[in-house]
Each structure stands twice: as structure tokens, then as C-alpha cells.
Amino acid sequence: MSHARILRGCLIALAGFLACARAYAIDPTQMPTPELQARYEGLTHELRCVQCQDEAISDSPAGIASDLRGEVRDMLLAGKSDQDVRNFMLARYGDFVLFRPRFVLKNAWLWLAPWTLLAVGGLVAWRVVRKRAELVAADNEPLPDDGSP
């Protein structure tokens, strides 16, 4: 069997799997317009499943995840904004449900710590580099003429 035939067979199989993926997705919800669909998918990917906590509600087969997806769908269909949906979940399940944490006082360190560490690291690196440059500059100064040939 030639390589081209094997390759073609693989590609056909892959196309078949991709075509089926949609049908086996956990969430088959279809919103009436592409805009709503995009917002729906965005929200269900950034809301955390409260039962299986390392998944978003879009990926979780848990019953509560499917109920919460239904809430998101109904709220979007009722004309609510993305922030309305987030606030709804926040009021019931707390900060835990947001995979994208809010910037509030008790979360502030979460947002500020990386920048602080980066600034400290940058400062240290800058000082080290400057010190080394001074050493090199000192090294390049001509040696005092001691009269040797």
C-alpha cells in the first residue's frame, strides 16, 4: 500500500471524527443568532462548574452544569447582558464560579502579585546588569604605564 493511500485513509477518518464531534459534544445548545451563540459559548466557558470544579460549565456532564447552562441560555434569550449573567451566578455561587476573577479588594493580590514580582525581578536584573557593565568598563581602562616594553 502506498503512503498516499494511507494518508488519504487517515484524512478521511479524521474528517469523519470531526463531523461527529459536534453530535457528541456535551452541550448541543443552538442559539438563534451567531452573535448570541458566540456570547453563550463565551459565558459558558468562563463560568466554573460548581460540582466538578476544574471544568467550565460548557464542558461538564454534571446535572447542575446543564441546569446552569439553561439559565445562561434563558437569560441571553431574555435580552440580559453578559454582566447580568455573571452577576446572577456571583450572587448565588460566589466568586468561585468565575474563572476570570473580579478585581475587588480581597482578590487584588491575585491581580497585582504577578506585576509586583515582575517589577522586583526587573529591578534586580537591571542592577545586576549595571554592576557588570561597570566591572567591564573598569576592566577596559588602560593599565597604568609601568614602563615595561
Partner: protein, 180 residues
């Protein structure tokens, strides 16, 4: 020259302390702190499981303490908790209000017939809509609500005698002591 080696050691020691505090204080991953504590109980009005002509509503429960217990005949831990609930009922200290979560009515009634009914009233939340308002995510869950309709405590998972003794009883007796 000594601080060249001292600085990393001190930084490492500090990091160890920070991480140790994090490990010791990290909350149990299975328990999400409820944002409802100290807030008004979410209002609801649902048909009664035991009497189809009646409704169970949060408004009618105002003015007295109650313990809202979220359960289902499909829920294994609820079975383990059932004996404790019957004891609570027998104690007469606080009325138990059941929220039958996403259950089949016939199965729920069969479950109570077999194990005994610890509840004063049972609201049938067939769609699970009210449970979402209460931030329920895994049965059993129990909410202690005061006469002003404020949620004062939430027990996630099985209501054990220890939790009853340590968390619920003190809140009930403290409130009674201050009113009398």
C-alpha cells in the same frame, strides 16, 4: 560577602512560610463558601410534595427559625443523613423544611414512607430552579434561616451530630437567650 548567600536563604524561608500558610488555610476544595450567609433567604413558592393543593413559600415561613434541607430520593448521602434529620424533628428545636430537588414525586414519597418523614413541610422543586437561587450544587445541603428571613449558616453535605452540636444548636440557643 555574607549577604550574597543570605538573601536567597531568607527569600526561600519567606516563601516556605507563605506556602505553609496557604496549605494550612486552603479551604476544603469540595466546599464553596456560600455568598448567601448574612443575606435574605431567596424567596420561593413551590407546590407541596405531600399535598398538591398546598404551596410552600418563603413568605409563610417568616417569623420563625427553620432549617431548609435540600434532598432527593436519588441522593445517597441524604440516606445517611436521614437518621439525624429524624432526631432533629424529634428534638422539636427547629422545624425542618425539605426542598425536594429535581426528584420524581412518587419516588420521593416512597422514600419518605420507607425511612420516615422528618419534615414539617416539603417543597417540590421539580425543575431545580429554586435550588439555583439558593446556590445549591450537591445534595444534601442545609440552610439555617432566622425569623427575619436571613440565612445564618449553611451546612454543605451531611448534617452530622457534630455540626448540629457545634454550628446549629449554639446559633438557636443564643437567639433564644437574647429574646427571652
Amino acid at each position: 560577602m555574607i549577604n550574597r548567600f543570605l538573601i536567597p536563604v531568607v527569600v526561600f524561608a519567606l516563601l516556605t512560610v507563605v506556602l505553609a500558610i496557604g496549605i494550612v488555610h486552603s479551604p476544603d476544595k469540595g466546599i464553596i463558601p456560600s455568598p448567601l450567609i448574612g443575606k435574605p433567604a431567596p424567596p420561593f413558592s413551590l407546590p407541596s410534595l405531600t399535598d398538591a393543593t398546598r404551596t410552600v413559600s418563603s413568605g409563610a415561613l417568616r417569623g420563625r427559625w427553620y432549617l431548609l434541607n435540600v434532598w432527593g430520593s436519588w441522593c445517597g448521602t441524604c440516606r445517611e443523613e436521614h437518621g439525624m434529620l429524624l432526631q432533629v424533628r424529634q428534638s422539636g428545636l427547629v422545624p425542618l423544611i425539605g426542598l425536594d430537588w429535581k426528584d420524581d414525586d412518587a419516588q420521593a414519597l416512597g422514600y419518605l414512607q420507607q425511612g420516615g418523614n422528618p419534615y414539617q413541610e416539603i417543597a417540590a422543586d421539580r425543575t431545580g430552579r429554586v435550588a439555583i437561587d439558593w446556590g445549591v450544587y450537591a445534595a444534601p445541603e442545609s440552610f439555617l434561616v432566622n425569623p427575619e428571613g436571613i440565612v445564618v449558616y449553611k451546612c454543605m453535605g451531611e448534617l452530622t451530630p457534630e455540626i448540629w452540636q457545634k454550628e446549629i444548636l449554639p446559633r438557636l440557643t443564643k437567639a433564644q437567650a437574647s429574646t427571652s
